[in-house]
Symmetry: C2
Subunit: 314 residues, 2 copies
Amino acid sequence: MSKYIAVDIGGTKILGSLFNEDGKILSRHKVKTGAHRGREAVLQTLYGVIDELFQSDVKSMGVLIPGVVRDGKYVQMCSNVPFENMNLSKLLEDRYQVPVLLGNDVSLAVYGEWRHAGYNEKHVIGVFVGTGLGGGFIFDGKLYTGRGAAAEIGHIPYKDNNILCGCGRIGCAETEAGKIGMLHFIEKEQKRGVSSSLFECISPGQMFHTNDLYDAWKQGDPLAKKVIKRSVRALAVTLGTLNTLLHPELFILGGGVMESFYEDICEELHNKMLSHTMPALSGGVRFVRCCLGDDAGITGAYYLAKEAVDEPRL
Amino acid sequence: MSKYIAVDIGGTKILGSLFNEDGKILSRHKVKTGAHRGREAVLQTLYGVIDELFQSDVKSMGVLIPGVVRDGKYVQMCSNVPFENMNLSKLLEDRYQVPVLLGNDVSLAVYGEWRHAGYNEKHVIGVFVGTGLGGGFIFDGKLYTGRGAAAEIGHIPYKDNNILCGCGRIGCAETEAGKIGMLHFIEKEQKRGVSSSLFECISPGQMFHTNDLYDAWKQGDPLAKKVIKRSVRALAVTLGTLNTLLHPELFILGGGVMESFYEDICEELHNKMLSHTMPALSGGVRFVRCCLGDDAGITGAYYLAKEAVDEPRL
């Protein structure tokens, strides 16, 4: 029976998983990335993770990269891991003698959700609302990445709000939709002297827990309500933009914020999205929520690996 | 030798063209649409145009629709022509016994420009700035239309400017980028009492000529400069959004406004677009201008027709 390895290379940890033919995870192996040690040391750590899982019936591997991948082979940019400008695929193929496909971590998480659930829709947009706002595109049933980094949905121009985004620009959608933007707003309101139960849950320099925000919101805390209203509006404009531009059939919504708030806000978000969509195009798009949690990415990498040998790309 | 027919169905006229195998136009036939006469009459007029051009060696046809097309066969929505919810492809295939492919007029114009010029880039965005702001997407070397109406780039949420767009929403990019938006602004400034040589060129209820705007702009007319600055900003935000979302390799710019202003503004537009693009993605995208003028659409329809028989879609 064929097996496949999926590896998630992150800034803090490298997580490898061994899949059987049916997509079941047979074993996992996780180690710290130790990115500060430099490229060669991280590469040896990566080899160690794969060596632990590798068996003779492994047919191919899929690797998640937190950055820009070209042609499924080459790491062009990489956040927090010293693998920039590196033909990682070739290194791994030379060592393990099986096909190795790389993909952007967020795009592959969307792909994993889509393939796993078996949705019939072929034009699909994944939206992850967590610390930031990320996404992935499936067009005509295939992952779309453009020149390698498409679907940076959190970084479209949103508003002249004078808030500096982590990307270096001012006013990206992420500055109001994601948790970093929310925290920034909460701290600003705290300085202004408003009162809120949220302040009990935040410590200087630390990210709050989404559950705390959710509880405050459920209890009607005015600041929590303001924070979510602001995020929903930024999401609605972003989704309206995507809907008008790409006319998709399905939005898959996930990430920590969506995991907590989806049931409560999805109808409002859908309606608000339509008000920011070209009216003639507003019918018919469907919302679903993610269901794989943290396994979405490696599941996408597993499908990528499996398809590389099942349906070879020339 | 094989021949192909391309037909452009517009609100005012129906224009048919007979192409040879090399993409040369052998003959054209044009009649008034007479859309007010209803579906059956317009259909007979369409048959008349095709009958005039049809020969036994016509292998296939491509038809431009000013609206939403599903699966290259079905007209779902149609502006100014009474062909909504109609399997036009089947009607024409039954009558002429050759494959008939339909496509959105703007998307096919982009496709025509791309195929005709033979660009190597496979991820391409076409942008037409004229009366409105339209576009088309080519992803992985194929026309992308999503559920049929993708690339409505003029109708993404742009600004809370309180200007009602023709689509029914407020503040679409088109309300500042295209000529309808420009005219609205010029008339508003006229009412405010500013002075401008532009007022000599506009008549109430009539669209101005782009050449008149260009001449005033070249002569340094302050209002003309304001109008173009405003349009360039709306275009830059739109292109920055597209660049961040879709990470394309090539933008093809056309339409009446671009035909006049391209050489003068393309560098400024490119730089401004980059300032509205996620910084990490800003390198490498190329601008080119359209070169087929009014023939872009039928050229795209010709390629669509030709490919339908050269490379049959299953």
